[in-house]
Amino acid sequence: MPEKTSASAATPDTTANPYADPAARKELVRGIEARPGSSKPDPILEVDNIVRNFGGITAVDVDHLEVQRNIITALIGPNGAGKTTFFNLITGFDKPTSAQTLTHRPEAPAHWSFDGKALDNTSASAVSRAGMVRTFQLTKALNRMTVMDNMMLGARGQTGENLLTSWLKPTWRAQEREIEGKAHELLQRFTLYEKRHDYAGSLSGGQRKLLEMARALMTDPQMIMLDEPMAGVNPALTQSLLGHIQGLRDEGVTVLFVEHDMHMVRHISDWVVVMAEGRIVAEGEADVVMADKAVIDAYLGAHHDTDLGDDSLLTDETMANLQDEAAAEEKHRD
């Protein structure tokens, strides 16, 4: 399956995505103002006034954010910046403190929309059905089910999932075959094919990340939101998956991902949004953002005069260290 990715990269399918062509993408990105909350020519996601307080601390406080359709946007920021909380809020897994309720009428109520549809009071499953599908930083593999069953659950519109038709196998047998075919293809791409009959609970931390991403892709999302997709995935596989993510973009999927690995961010993202202490502090192309004073301050504290993209800061040695750390973290988690 990796051939498919490279093939689509070589001959971009500009009917699915006008920005599959790198030149067009550069052109597009050049036209966007590099400041927090800047407006995009064709935003797929628009967020306003989203605030989330946990007791005393404000985890998220975003005035305005637009995510451009059909490109890869990275959301970066130091630990505790509020990236995951932000994901939870817009995907319906958490409620903003600034949400409007019967009794609570904030001056600037939270409002966000995906592809023109307001999502302010939408359940997590409805958000997903609208086409915005997420993965979790702490993976949610369905442990006592096989890898294959995990995948099969991702497919949409299954006749067999309707109680009324579920007991009539002929009504869903053909569809089930089709979905199985799709799952096999994705599993091969994510190097999990050999594991398809194993329980998901027997997978390693990195494999769970892969499974979750593959499962999310089973839904054919319009936009995919990945929370640290490559944490704990080995470098060689990371390379191939990055290619796959780019392939998805070229097929017309909008990608928003959270990542700490600056190399990866620089390598595949078309646009970078930086969060710190709950706020959006910078936006722009990777190189521009990583040289931004506010960003460096956010990451390293004030009065540093290096640039985050500086390779002295991110040597291979640091990279290796980071990878070790990630692996150790994964282990610890299990």
Binding site: T91, G92, F93, S123, A124, S125, A126, S128, R129, V133, R134, T135, F136, K140, A141, L142, N143, R144, M145, T146, D149, M152, L153, G154, R156, Q158, T159, G160, E161, N162, L163, S166, W167, K169, W172, E176, E180, E194, H197, Y199, A200, G201, S202, E212, R215, A216, M218, T219
Partner: protein, 383 residues
């Protein structure tokens, strides 16, 4: 644990050829296990049958008692309620600690409707309808919350049903604490029998063909068990069943995939509760509606039978119910026969049998937590 793990890893080493139909390697182990258990089961029944019918002594009486208990309509009725609980707990992960409440409600709905002159089909619908309403009442406020809330609500709601049934103000309908005698509502059911009069004896089983508690009640009860098992097997092996197991493992993951978790949990609660009600109706047909017979204790039996047979399996609940009730009769019979009355009198052996059942349950949870038919490999991964 070690036994199963080795079996698994040994199997995993085998080349994983994608055979036609893409068979799972563990299916082979499962089939082997099925054969072993079936042979073992048949052997045990055969021995008991032989002793019960061809010998003369205390064990003959004990074993024929056990075999009679195994096929009693009440065992069948509880088995159906266990199948229902299996949908709740085994497949969906819903903690229903009031399954007996569903049974009692079904029994009341059924018996009262019959007493009020409704026909048998309508009475069954009333019983089922009562359980659906009950499930909605319990599910609407709790299924959006974490699992523990459903547990608390079901256990108390079941008690409320029981106490309401006992209210003296309702004696006209429920019979209050006296209950409703079966003779008042059983008529139409026995009239349906085409088994005729007389008595038929098969080995240790000797019953009237129709009668109050005869072959007719047994045949109908077990036919319903069979039907229920088939329908449930079709349901849980479908993508809908896969959805249930997904919800059991991680609701949020399933939500992120765009499934309406709340609706599916509600469907599971209603179906499992409806099976409880169906079990309740069969339970009272050969006897009477007694609120106190369907209280916390029965819920406990249902849970025990489920864990014994194996949660999230197809036949586990039925097997669990049969073994649970049979083993108790076995213990009671053996103690009665061999322990002199000066040590344990008849009443004490009754209590002693419950104690032993409790101890067996504890041993089971420690040494075979997956139950008789359950899959140990699944238990290695905590949800």
């Amino acid at each position: 644990m070690s036994q199963d793990t080795t079996a698994y890893s040994a199997d995993a080493v085998e080349p994983d050829t994608p055979a036609p139909g893409d068979e799972r390697p563990e299916n082979r182990i499962d089939r082997r296990k099925t054969v072993v258990l079936t042979v073992l089961g048949i052997a045990i029944v055969a021995v008991m049958w032989y002793v019960a019918t061809s010998t003369d002594g205390p064990m003959a009486r004990v074993f024929s008692g056990v075999l009679r208990e195994a096929i009693s309509p009440q065992t069948a009725a509880v088995a159906i309620a266990v199948v229902g609980l299996n949908i709740h707990f085994g497949f969906t992960g819903l903690l229903n600690i009031g399954q007996a409440g569903f049974m009692l409600l079904g029994a009341y709905g059924f018996a009262i409707a019959l007493n009020e002159g409704a026909g048998l089909p309508l009475a069954v619908l009333v019983g089922l309808g009562a359980s659906v309403a009950f499930a909605l009442l319990l599910g609407v406020p709790t299924l959006k919350l974490r699992g523990d809330y459903l547990a608390i609500v079901t256990i108390s709601a079941a008690e409320i049903v029981r106490y309401t049934g006992r209210l003296s103000q309702l004696t006209e309908y429920t019979g209050g604490s006296q209950g409703l005698p079966g003779s008042r509502y059983r008529g139409e059911f026995t009239d349906l029998s085409f088994f005729g009069d007389g008595r038929t004896t098969i080995g240790p089983w000797s019953y009237q063909n129709t009668g109050v508690d005869g072959w007719w009640a047994r045949a109908v009860s077990w036919a319903v068990v069979l039907l229920v098992v088939i329908v449930v097997a079709l349901l849980v092996r479908s993508p809908w069943g896969r959805l249930l197991r997904g919800i059991r493992e991680d609701e949020d993951a399933i939500r992120s995939l765009g499934k309406n978790v709340y609706a599916v949990k509600m469907q599971a609660l209603i179906i499992g509760g409806g099976l409880g009600a169906l079990g309740g109706m069969l339970y009272v047909l050969p006897s009477s509606v007694q609120a106190d017979q369907m209280g916390r204790q029965l819920t406990f039996f249902i849970w025990t039978a489920l864990l014994l047979g194996g949660a999230a399996t197809i036949f586990g609940p039925v097997l669990g119910a049969i073994i649970f009730f049979s083993v108790r009769i076995l213990i009671r019979g053996v103690t009665n026969a061999y322990v002199p009355d000066s040590i344990l009198n008849t009443q004490q052996t009754e209590q002693f049998s419950w104690v032993v059942v409790g101890v067996i349950l504890m041993l089971l949870v420690i040494f075979r937590p997956q139950g008789i038919l359950g899959n140990k490999r699944e238990l290695q991964f905590n949800a």
